[in-house]
Amino acid sequence: MTSLLSVEHLRVEIPTRRGTLLAVDDLSFDVAEGEVLGMVGETGAGKSLTGNAIIGLLDPPARIAAGRIGLRGRRIDDLPAEAMRHLRGKEIGAVFQDPLTSLNPLLTVGRHLTQTILTHLDMSPSQARARALKMLTEVGIPAARERLDSYPHQLSGGMRQRVVLALAFACDPTLVVADEPTTALDVSVQAQVIELLKRMCREHGTAVLLITHDMGVIADTADRIAVMYAGRLVEIGPTRSVLNAASHPYTQGLMASIPSMRRRGVALAQIEGSMPRLDAMPAGCAFHPRCPVKVERCTRERPDLAPAGASDVACWLSSTTATEDQVRHGG
């Protein structure tokens, strides 16, 4: 599969008055055409920053300190603002968490769509409006023609998020970065929006970088999963492998600590401690202070991503080149 998005050795730094914090540390991964890559991690793992870096919307003082982001081979992390603006919306679409603040309260839904369409595609205003109507219908908004003239506050949360999806897909992008797209929604609406996202990706052939901390959503949607911890990638592989047969101790601990409706009444596995603060990062592997199976090497050397079964794992104990016993998730 050809690689649509390639991130190589990405470093995102945040200079503060107490020193520079490294929020994303040497991150490398690919997204293939048309695939859904789920990026999971807990608060502070750096997944949102990664998404923002790719779209080019890092909030200063955060900045890309090193590395390379390429879209279809073309380098995009060092583009000037004007060129990035053309890229955004046309090649890369974005969906954010809160649909209320993602939409301008002063613009009608129709204006949002036509503005985006006219900026990136060469059409007349009436053609743009027709396309806007088509997008709204496609995302399942009832009475779409009347809805073109509605304002965001007149729509419910689920409807708003559908409009945001319509905006993201309006110019037929090749990649959509979705940062916690369902977290602010009710359960029943979540299901609808996820279904919609999956359908749009299938029909448009768009790849999705789905960033979330909700494992249930990822289980349902992603082809591959990338697990982030303390700014680093610890495991990446096909969804079922990562969920059911994780190799990295953090991933295993994470999966075992998620309550599930099927597994009731048993105490949840818990990982002691918490993610290290950015200004107090341990030497070697970032997870070693909390790791139940660490060895001496883990405290000194940071592990690289190495193959382990169907996935790539950053752990001295889990890669197929290790001489120690592999730790398997107990299901």
Binding site: E42, T43, G140, P142, S156, G158, M159, D186, V187, S188, V189, Q190, A191, Q192, I194, E195, L196, H213, D214, M215, G216, V217, I218, A219, D220, T221, T239, L243, G253, L254, M255, S257, I258, P259, S260, M261, R262, R263, R264, G265, A267, L268, A269, Q270, I271, S274
Partner: protein
Amino acid sequence: MAAEGHDVVLRVERLTKRYALDVPLLARIVSRERHRVVHAVEDVSFEIARGTTFALIGESGCGKSTIARCIAGILPPTSGSIHFMGADVARLRGRSAALPYRRNLQMIFQDPYASLNPRWSVARIIAEPIVTHRLLTSNAAIESRVIDLLRLVGLSATDRRKYPHQFSGGQRQRISIARALASEPAFLVCDEPTSALDVSVQAQILNLMRRLQRSLGLTYLLISHNFAVVAHMADRIGVMYLGRIVESGDTASVLDAPQHPYTRMLVAAVPDIDKPAGARQPLKGEVPSPLAPPPGCAFHPRCAFANERCRRELPALVRSGDAYVACHAIQERRAERRPEAGVDRSLV
């Protein structure tokens, strides 16, 4: 819904809470709207037995948080009664009358960042219930109790001098739990206690809550929108929709053999990591606004089994098998167990 035989700690009867929305004078004249009423909670009744966890689950606008606040005493109900420790606490007037009950009923909130006063030290925060109820008088005794409570929730004695902003979300929830336990309550209302926390931290907090329940004999009212958390913590579940309980029963019945169409659809729609991809059935439509609940059964616009009676008549909560269900279709035996054909995959 009797938790049969056991010692009942809390009994809620016909609890109702309505809000009047002020319509501006001009709008009232122009559109002849009388002032609108939000039916947040309508005619809710349930019991909780000692040492158990009863969970109220539902989506936004269903009224579960409102019920929690009425029970905790920060929101006066419109009508109905709340029987706690032998008294109807909804009827109590004045602080001195309510004080003995407040000692035994505490609350844990959702937002770990807003539930602790940023200007108070941890020791002062935890000691507040002790001081308010004058349970201990000497400073040394209070400090010693604060240290005990900190250790009980997994924090250390030195944490008592620190301030909330020095702690993570999970640690703050522990501090909230310590504060809630300070007056040795019998009953805790937990309003989405882990919704704002990361998954691994959630696991720590849920395990802690279960441990404390066993060792201290606590009774919990758990409010949540997360089915997995509820599955893990609750003995009995009440499913709410637009201010009413539509189904209630013990956890296994409600989750494994849901009867009410809304419960069934909800259980089927919930994302769960153990569910194979594609096994989800999205619901039709969205929850209507509590300002204008549909007539008859509030769920009928989205229900595959709705008939004429559903559109006119409000179903009563009656016993059906192991649970209590408010549904005409169930009572009339029109709803089959697995309504695959009735679930519409369209997204409208």
